[in-house]
């Protein structure tokens, strides 16, 4: 398999100092790919804490609180119990037999990998976002903060945050680009029903990146009593680390479930990447298992020559929203607007750990266009009776391209990060259907 071979032939983290590696390679390689970030929140050259001085003390305090919580079995137990009784975990790992067979029918004889779906879409609120929100709300409570804020694009993270705010009895403000408020009316109403205040953001391009700017502006002005629940594995340290840790429940469950179903690890993991939280949650527990290949799927929008949201394929390293990472930007470092049919992928950056995994070659990132995702949205609905979120449909599209090239005894796991109910209006519109 080309994708697996390509990493093994690069660097191997556990290799002994040998003749084939230079001294610098050996020094710069961590013992485990799972031990990042360093004490200052750096994943290789990425990550860090690029925030205004006003926020620094709070971020340092959050880091301390998180370290203590991470080592506290009571914190872990409460998180686990809420995952079970409130979120509905563990969700199943499902063998997508009809999808697998349909792809085999088009493949060469003996080809067509077996496809499993990790069913994050069955979680309460319909996506993986709730895993992270519960973890962060527990931290907010530990810090004595009774008010939470969040940014949202499509409204998935906003709904998940409003949900946990209701659960914990916290006051909740959601910053949402004015354009997205118009496009995502059902989610706006959901957030209001849950007791949250939705604040339309009119600055900049009035989309996700601007809602993050305004959430940061509000936070700077209200640091004394407000906790910012960031919705993806990005932002200043320690957010990328703690969001990853909370989302790693996806990968841990997948590991146990595939061992039970197949008695071995999968050959490949595929997940969509917006900021990268569901993907890193699935990947992280497998990072040191070099036989497991990983594909992060970026939104290529209208194509990499046109408007898109593929920060790794089309961006360069820069600093935004508290971290150094790959960004879509011009030669002067001005951020360019992203585009994807999927609002959850419509962001000009990516979490710093993905930038690092991309640079060291441990994870391959693959662009998938709007039209490809739209097709897979329908394919999965018809073949498996599962309507995927448009974000997740990007991962399904990647699997549809890769599975037929692999031997039939290979195993792929797709992270079905969310369900597609929120997207039916967008999809109907794109297909020219009157509802």
């Amino acid at each position: 398999m080309a994708l697996i071979a390509s990493f093994s032939s690069k660097r191997t983290p556990n290799s002994v100092p040998g003749k084939t590696e230079t001294m610098t390679d050996i020094i710069s390689l961590p013992n485990s790919l799972r031990s990042q970030p360093d004490a200052n929140g750096h994943f290789g050259a990425f990550g860090g804490r690029y925030v205004a001085e006003t926020l620094m003390p709070l971020i340092l305090e959050l880091e301390k609180v998180y370290k203590t919580a991470k080592a506290d079995p009571a914190f872990d137990a409460e998180f686990a119990e809420l995952m079970r009784s409130y979120v509905g975990r563990p969700n199943p790992l499902y063998y997508a037999g009809r999808l697998t067979e349909a792809l085999r029918a088009k493949a060469q004889p003996g080809k067509g990998a077996k496809i499993y779906l990790k069913r994050e879409e069955l979680n309460h609120t319909g996506a993986h976002k709730i895993n992270n929100c519960i973890g962060q709300a527990l931290l907010a409570r530990r810090m004595g903060k009774k008010k939470v804020i969040a940014e949202t694009g499509a409204g998935q993270h906003g709904v998940a945050t409003a949900t946990v705010a209701a659960l914990f009895g916290m006051e909740c403000k959601i910053f949402m680009g004015a354009k997205d408020v118009e496009r995502q009316k059902p989610n706006v109403f959901r957030m209001k029903l849950l007791g949250a205040e939705v604040i339309p953001v009119h600055s900049g391009s009035s989309t996700l990146k601007d809602s993050m700017n305004d959430a940061l502006r509000y936070w700077v002005s209200n640091v004394h009593d407000t906790f910012y629940i960031i919705g993806t594995a990005a932002g200043p340290h320690p957010y990328p680390e703690l969001v990853r840790d909370f989302q790693s429940i996806i990968g841990k469950e997948t590991r146990a479930q595939i061992m039970e179903a197949e008695g071995r690890l999968p050959d490949m993991l595929i997940a969509p990447v917006g900021g990268g939280s569901n993907a890193i949650g699935l990947f992280h527990p497998f990072l040191d298992d070099l036989e497991v290949a990983m594909i992060g799927v970026e939104a290529a929008g209208e194509g990499l020559d046109g408007k898109h949201a593929a920060s790794l394929a089309g961006g360069v390293s820069g600093i935004l929203h508290g971290n150094r990472t790959y960004l879509l930007q011009d030669e002067d470092g001005q951020i360019t607007e992203a585009h994807s049919i999927s609002a959850g992928l419509d962001y000009p950056g990516i979490g710093p750990e993905h930038s690092w995994l991309h640079e060291i070659g441990r994870v391959q990132y693959m662009p998938i266009r709007d039209d490809e995702a739209l097709t897979s949205f329908q394919t999965l609905s018809k073949l498996e009776g599962i309507i995927p979120a448009l974000e997740s449909a990007h991962a399904v599209a990647a699997a549809e391209q890769i599975a037929p090239t692999l031997d039939a005894d290979k195993i792929i796991v797709i992270n079905l990060s969310g369900r597609g109910d929120k997207d039916i209006f967008t999809v109907a519109d794109a297909l020219g259907v009157e509802m």
């Binding site: 690029y50 925030v51 001085e53 003390p57 340092l60 600093i319 935004l320 002067d332 951020i335």
Partner: protein, 269 residues
Amino acid sequence: MDRLASRFAVCKSQGRAALITFVTAGDPDVAATPAILDALVAGGADIIELGMPFTDPMADGPAIELANLRSLGSGTKTKHIFALAADFRARHPDTPLILMGYANPMLIRGGDWFADQCKAAGVDGVICVDAPPEEDAEIGPALRAAGVHLVRLATPTTDAARLPTVLNGASGFLYYVSVAGITGKQSAAQASIEIAVAKLKAATDLPIAVGFGVRGPEQAAAIGRIADGVVVGSAIVDIIGSHGDAAAPFVQTFVAALRDALHIRETAA
């Protein structure tokens, strides 16, 4: 003594605080900026803060955010900003010039490139809003090597335990952000500023400049009685927002009023 130190020394000898004024480079466009900078100097500004526009100015309120967008919308590029700075230096050899902005536009070509450009254009110091001391390696060493001041920010959330971290590597002056918030209309109570400035003075010999939420002459005068410098930004940027290309004379009148207010400190005290 360098330009910044001499200017603070002159102000001190005159028994007043330095007037530090902020405008965004290229607002409303690059062609209009030299006249606005000249108006600041003619009005009596001691030190000029020139904002580098950024698409995502996360620490700024609506006034300066709009200025950033006006500037970028009219086509301002980084090369224009350094050209504006170099021309300013030629016209005003003694007035200190500080570039203020966000890390990404500053560092996109690397810290060394940025520091070299600053030095070549006669820029005296840099304020990088989103590069806290923890990320000093990105920008600090390059500026120090080029002999350009890195001006650090202290805020109401910077407590005594953290202050040494902020001061370590700070130079030129220390910028006290008087409100925990963004630039714009919100102002801090005079009493809280006085307590904060006294604490900062006890911790450093650097001049202390106070900014964020300083809107007019009276407030500037009150702060000028306790600080070494007073920074006014949004109030000037609002004037540019209203008058556009024709803003220079209005800016000059407003700055002159600020400067007059600082001058009468001795008589008022």
